[in-house]
Amino acid sequence: MALSPLNQRRWRNFRSNGRAFWSLIIFCVLFGLSLFAEFIANDRPILVKFQGDFYTPIFKFYPETTFGGDFKTEAIYQDIEVECLIISAGLEDCWDDPEAIIEDASDGNIDGLDIDRGWVIWPPIPFSYDTPNDINGTAPSPPDATHWLGTDDTTRDVLARVIYGFRLSIVFAILVTGISSVIGIIAGAIQGYFGGWIDLIFQRIIEIWSSTPSLYVIIILFAILGRSFWLLVGVSILFGWIALVGLVRAEFLRARNFEYVRAAEALGVSNFRIMIRHMLPNAMVATLTMLPFIVTGAISSLAALDFLGYGLPSNLPSLGELTQQAKQNLQAPWLGITAFMTFAVMLSLLIFIFEGVRDAFDPRKIFK
């Protein structure tokens, strides 16, 4: 798709803002990587070769019996016995002395007999966000070679949780911002364009709605319906769309009296088309100025709810919960430092990017 000259200019302006441009690249890399978090941090291998066949445990469920085990439950790939079974192509002796057999199998045969040697490819971090780990000492354990950022108070790997938590935060923010902006822009546009009684009534409804204590509503709804990610998204949208209404309404009220809007009206252009084609592009610049606050607001409100214990279900990876653990375990500073650094990096990147976008859209800003 070809960009219009105006958008080309905006893109040039954005690129000339080094801080914003590099923030965008770093953010895209981080978010892109986190989208493939299953391949980076997982308690299941990416690829397994067993008796000449290939298995992909990331995508598919394999019972232990597939690899010659006894149980019909999913194979626990971290167990040394399972590892031994895969490598030795299903030798029964694995149940007695797996270490010895693995060592013996490293040269391609066991007790002089040739075997179809299998192998396992693990993700770089062989733990998922909810994997309970065996650790030496008490949880939370400090960073070491296996757990690069240590473990939390239920022995889950902090790095894995941060990767998944980052993704969840961003997805949550994008969903909430996207949907509530669309609703807010539509509502504000209708109010500003038609004005009069519609505006008056809508405005009163919004005043009432915005004075509803959202935290209580969330707590009550969670008590009735149970905690879930999608319910939290829904409630956040329910109370988030108001943020843009006032702004868009004001822009539309202003644009209503622009000469070219009147001209379009005189030409007989329909209300809907005037709103979309002539007025919305104007309102977009003001909306873009507001957007970073909504995005960062969504992220921090999710974190705040998690911190208070009213957020995501406890098994989901949440940065807010990590912060709460950090507060409860002051003897384990790696929790607090990790949480702080993650938030700082994430929010700073977003702010820098949106700052650049806003400046690029500002027609009065002059770039060199």
Partner: protein
């Protein structure tokens, strides 16, 4: 001359804007600004009606009332016999095909985010949504050529053009639907004098060619004289004088018209000394509390007691020449 068909007949139109609303708890009477206070006129096919008056006399409001962009308080706007005032907005939208408008500020009346092609093509897209893209393109190209815009400008944006070119774009946009009447709301006030002449001549050529009627609003008398068949002079929301263009300039009856004509600067000859006495002072009185009787009496050199008591009515002086003044000899 054959009596040509009357396109637009405006009968006693009043446009009042509420100044202080009678609110929910506010029991005071609502007060109104009488922007247009009972104006009537006809426009025939192929005719140009010039409307003159100083700032704030209701020229633009009258134009907007004709095109139904401000609510009309009372009176009728008959478009080929049909009253536009009571039409539903969807029916009115249909009428706008024949009833186009050119605006005062050429640049501001064009959407800065649309290309020239999009701007001129928009009326077609609006009124003929099924028209194929190629046909729209062709019509846009044709009208652009007609108003003197080069074909390679089609993908440029309004801010890349000069004021005169922008006004040509505005004219092209109004012309593309081949309307019967174009309302020109001070189309040349924002342009340089040299460009003014070009635009006026373009409008006159187009009028001859397409049998257009124009309602031409301006505050510049010389411009109006050049283009109009008939001229109407407004003061504070009502008509003070109507006449054929040449008649009005040669033989102005109303003191206000005389003052307006005297105010036109001349380069080649010295202003006659008696014209100085015709000059009027002061500003337009507030339309919120217009003077009693004749609205012009506060600034009129001839004002008498009767002017404060009685409002002069528009009466015919000679054929086609009407004036609203107590002291115009019949």
């Amino acid at each position: 001359m054959i009596q040509s068909e009357t396109l637009l007949r405006v009968e006693d139109v009043k446009v009042y804007f509420p100044y202080r609303n009678r609110g929910f708890l506010n029991r005071r009477e609502a007060t109104y600004v009488k922007a247009v206070d009972g104006i009537s006129f006809d426009i025939k096919r192929g005719e140009t009606l010039g409307i003159v008056g100083e700032s704030g006399c209701g020229k633009s409001t009258l134009a907007r009332a004709v095109i139904q962009m401000v609510p009309v308080h009372a009176g009728k706007v008959l478009w080929m016999g049909q009253d536009l005032v009571d039409l539903k907005s969807s029916e009115m939208r249909d009428k706008r095909k024949d009833l186009q408008m050119i605006f005062q500020d050429p640049l501001a009346s064009l959407d800065p985010r649309m290309t020239l092609g999009q701007i001129i093509g928009e009326p077609l897209k609006t009124h003929f949504p099924k028209m194929p893209k190629a046909e729209i393109k062709e019509k846009v190209a044709k009208v652009m050529e007609r108003v003197g815009l080069l074909p390679n400008m089609v993908s440029r944006y309004p801010h890349e053009f000069s004021g005169g070119q922008c006004q040509r774009i505005g004219i092209a946009r109004a012309l593309v639907l081949e309307p019967k009447l174009i309302i020109c709301d001070e189309p040349v006030s924002a342009l340089d004098v040299s460009i003014q002449a070009q635009v006026i001549n373009l409008l006159m050529d187009l009028q001859k060619e397409m049998d257009l009627s124009l309602m031409f609003i301006a505050h510049d008398l010389s411009v109006v004289q050049h283009i109009s068949t008939r001229v109407m002079v407004l003061y504070l929301g009502s008509v003070v004088e109507v006449a054929d263009s040449d008649e009005l300039y040669d033989n102005p009856l109303h003191p206000y018209t005389k003052a307006l004509i005297a105010a036109v600067p001349h380069v080649d000859k010295k202003a006659p000394s008696d014209q100085a006495s015709l000059m009027i002072d002061g500003d337009l009185p507030s339309p919120l509390s217009p003077p009693s009787g004749c609205a012009f009496r506060t600034r009129c050199p001839k004002a008498q007691d009767i002017c404060a008591q009685q409002r002069p009515v528009l009466s015919e002086h000679s054929s086609g020449h009407e004036s609203a003044c107590h002291f115009v000899a019949r």
